[in-house]
Amino acid sequence: MEEIRNKVEQLLLKTQKPARYIGGEHGSVVKDKSKVDVRFAFCFPDVYDVGMSHLGMKILYGLKNAVPNFWCERVFMPEKDFEALMRENDIPLYALESLDPIRDFDFIGFTLQYELSFTNVLEMLDLAGLPVYAKDRKGLMPIVVGGGPCVCNPEPIAAFFDLFILGEGEEVNLELMHLYERMKPHNPSKEEFLREAAKIEGIYVPQFYDVEYNEDGTVASITPNVPEAKPKIKKRVIPDFDHAYYPDSFVVPFTGIVHDRVVVEVLRGCIRGCRFCQAGFIYRPFREKNIDTIANETKTLCEQTGYEQVSLSSLSTSDHTKIIELLTRLSDYTDKENINLSLPSLRIDTMSKEIVDRLAAVRKSGLTFAPEAGTQRLRDVINKNITEEEIMRTCRLAFSEGYQAVKLYFMLGLPDETDEDIEGIADLAQKVVDLYYETPKNLRGKSVQVSVSCATFVPKPFTPFEFEPQATPEQIKHRQGHLLDCIKSKKIKISYHQMNVSILEGVLARGDRRLADTIYCAWKKGCTLDSWDEHFRFDLWQEAFEECHTDTAFYANRRRSYEEVAPWSHLDYLVSHEFFVRENKKAHEGKTTRNCAEGCSGCGIKKECGGVYCG
């Protein structure tokens, strides 16, 4: 540690925001190494500013460190400037609490939140001084594990990992570490350990499965090759979510990060079933915390951190069955303590006057809505059950309360999308502008700004759209151009996500094991920090596709039959294949599906998983 610390300290002054690389923040956990039996390096494969904002890391960090002889530390991807300094000065990737090199840890865990962080995993393993391919890491430790939403199709990066954890980590992480603690004194081989680990529900060891391919390139079969490996690996769920572990302490960073505030998770899962949304399916069933639990967690964390802002986290906060009571209870506390309460993920159709009033805090900033599609027809296709009337009703209310900025989120390239749907986006934005001018002058704010943000739709596994072709770059370009042509008002601002990013996401999201070498090749060429515009090198990715003979259209732009064996078909996220097929057919018929609160639609999740509306 001392050696790394001395070297690092001399380099910190040469880098941007050095406090990101030295640890020591309030709330960080430093233990006596001699009393620790299992060391876990929790890696977020992106820079500190992003990773420190991630709630899952805070939960699992607290959870593991609550066990006296386990020590979990944080590791982030260095920015390019510091990475270069680390390499020049032979500093291996180290953990922020002990400043020890992570190659000596028992576990190295990556949370895989988005496909564009895949190359960062390779970079971090390499910086740690480890071979990036799992097969080249012969010893028992470190065991490289992956978790998070991308693990629902980890096949493209399976070659770099020893095992994956499917679903919610609160229980299975500890089971895995306890297993290791029991086995370690007997010096097992890595394979011996992995075979035992594979018996734990929710743990997937990719090397224990053989994948065969058909002549047309599709997957023919995925078969276990050891008796411990189950034919289907089920994701883990915490049925009693109200009693699930939640940290009583956060690490409070020195430098500004993306979400620099207390975050309290109020519910998990989503009742809505928007057909494009992976999170809406892989986090099912819908479970919520009691108001008392939420209020206690809020108070505890505000006191421990000293933050002046608290945010409620969920996929759709207003779907909490007691939302008004919850907000009343929380704002009584936050108002008294001069703390700001913010509520992302409110759905437009449930925004009542009462909620808008509660939100009327210091300044009137902006409202954000995600209609996702421009016409009612297409919103029915994607099962985004919002009507134009509801959008208008909420905007009318907001404008008369003094709101001046409205953000509208849309997607381009949705299944069955036509030019008419694109025109619908422009119409909707224009109607919002008109609505502002209809609001009486004495009530409305000084001016109005409607920002339209268009992402490109990427079909994801475990959604009803997993069978759909992604729109081709030409189609997307055409639709972007068409939208621009349709905008008349200067009050409307249009922005797009980078199209090339979506193409890469499309390939990786539904890819198979053969992509590992392509990812390796792109990384070797210098692709890292792909999610950052300034670092994203699509030209290098294209070279990698070419050299590795990767047909991007095969992965992204091909319609897949319902019968095709998906690369992720050995993974079970509890929502049935039959449900996705049914939903896909309904989408093409333009038929919506009711949400869980209105009645069960038979997605396949069992009652035992603890869903509020299940069974």
Binding site: N6, Q10, L12, P18, G23, G24, F254, T305, G306, V362
Partner: protein, 238 residues
Amino acid sequence: MFTVAEMLQPKNQNLRLTKYEYRLVFEKTGRAKYISHLDLMRCFQRAFKRAGIPLWYTQGFNPHAYLMFPLALSLGTDSSVEILDIALTEQLPFDELRDKMNTSMPEGLRIVSAGEPVMKHTEIVFAEYEVDFSVKGQTGDETARCFSDFLSQEKIEVEKRSKKRGANLVDIKPHINLLSISSEGEYARVSLRLPAGSEFNLNTNVVFEAFEAFFGGRIDMIYTKRTKILTRSLENFI
């Protein structure tokens, strides 16, 4: 229904006009020395909140806690003589204020003492530093001698940038006061008194960059510590 005018009321309705001012002396060492000046402000604010010490908020539409560092400390410099001025809405005994704060501070930050502000910020004129540094392939003795040579030049010109005049050359030689110089092993150690404060401020890194330019090499390791903050008559700033 609100009207716009009603909504524009400041949020902290319970305005408290009485404020009690305190001057804290604090230590910034170890990992904490890489907290930037701006981040330090936020860091203290949260520490006060955690400690349950009621900061006084400025009165206005955008209320913020009153915290003031009269003299910035360069990133990476150790110190146990840093000053923070605060205002509270309640009176607290000095020792209690210090002890309460120290239960909620991150590693490397510690309140040394609390007291009443005596002097004005403008009375800060000098600061003293202790610097240990080494040059690869040289003994501490050689490095120290090289530093003496550096200081014995007639002029030490550095480029100074200001918003008004752009870049221009300034002779810093008359402003560097060498208090002592010695060596130990591969390290040279110097004590310097440099101008500080709002009128004219000279950071150690400017001096050592000029030193590197003088001998045409690179400093390998450098540890800087601020030891004193002084008035014109070389009294400790209190």
